[in-house]
Subunit: 187 residues, 2 copies
Amino acid sequence: MEKILGIFDKFPFLSDSSKTGFLSNLEEVKFEKGELLEEEGKVSQYLYYFLEGAARSYYRRNNRDITVSFTLEGEFVTAMHSFISRKPSYENIETLEKSKAYRISHDTLLNMFENFPETERAYRMILEEYYIVLEEQQIFAKFKSARERYLELMEYRPKVIQKASVGHIASYLDMSIETLSRIRAKI
Amino acid sequence: MEKILGIFDKFPFLSDSSKTGFLSNLEEVKFEKGELLEEEGKVSQYLYYFLEGAARSYYRRNNRDITVSFTLEGEFVTAMHSFISRKPSYENIETLEKSKAYRISHDTLLNMFENFPETERAYRMILEEYYIVLEEQQIFAKFKSARERYLELMEYRPKVIQKASVGHIASYLDMSIETLSRIRAKI
DNA sequence: CTGATTTATTGATTTTCGTCAATAGTATTT
DNA sequence: AAATACTATTGACGAAAATCAATAAATCAG
């Protein structure tokens, strides 16, 4: 069974037939820097698995971009809210650099659930992880000062700091660009 | 099939045998006001469905209680982070009043998934709803002033305001008790 | 019912961080 | 390489809400 990609690492219970079935339904896609994978107003069609590159998810409010997450290699991403609810997304997902990913459409995923019930479990686990990340983020943000939030990001996801702009990081950490700039000045 | 309880309302795809199997694995439990259903430091064992009463989920930080959610009749609740990860919970769940609930243990739930694969889908949907609520909460919190957050709670979940104390509501809305008190003074 | 303890209100002060504004630095285009 | 347009830094100021502190009201225990 495929080894090159870590995509099944977290789903050891999947049978070979499920894996094969799953892989045959994946589509490999490449993106240049700044391309939109998912767009607000449209129902999110795909679940992505990043092989190379990076992306950010963001939405717009008061003419401003609010970054809600960054996706790096080896991670799944979609506009989960829309992907789940089948309602129009308020999120955009754009690549921060040239990227390569696998993707599977929502329809295909539902078919997979019918043909290979184990895959529903794998999806459930992706959802669980998504949930946990969101919950940790929420708690993490609640008690930390702007400075502490930045230091934690540096500690746990330094690659994000390398790949994203000050503006993206600031909105992700829920502070103004100026505040972030001042924090960086006196690390 | 049972009609009294709305527990299956959102899962119309469940077969009668799944429903019967599920119901036979539910345990009915009653609580007085202030009882702990789940406790920090312990792995969350149960998923609850509230028939009557209300509860709040909270964790402790800096000697303070931070309320993360309220559960009313007809809603599911657990310390989801722990229930998912099987790691010790940092959340507590306590009843706000005399309550009645169904509950199912994590082990039983996993067995159900084996015997009635459809139930895994129902669980997935509970998880999805949990996720969506959390995400909406996060965005909701980000752009609203203290006053607006309170007004929205009044609009969408007025029962919470009736049943919870000012302290609980304030921490849930991420503001000080004093601020909430002042907001209430001049509605 | 009464005293004690917890919960809520109101006022004064402080702090953190956002906004506005000017400047500097980096990229991108021609 | 010069011109233009983003992106980042730094300073001055102000606003929202936190903290500290003192009462007041409500709840609970005996």
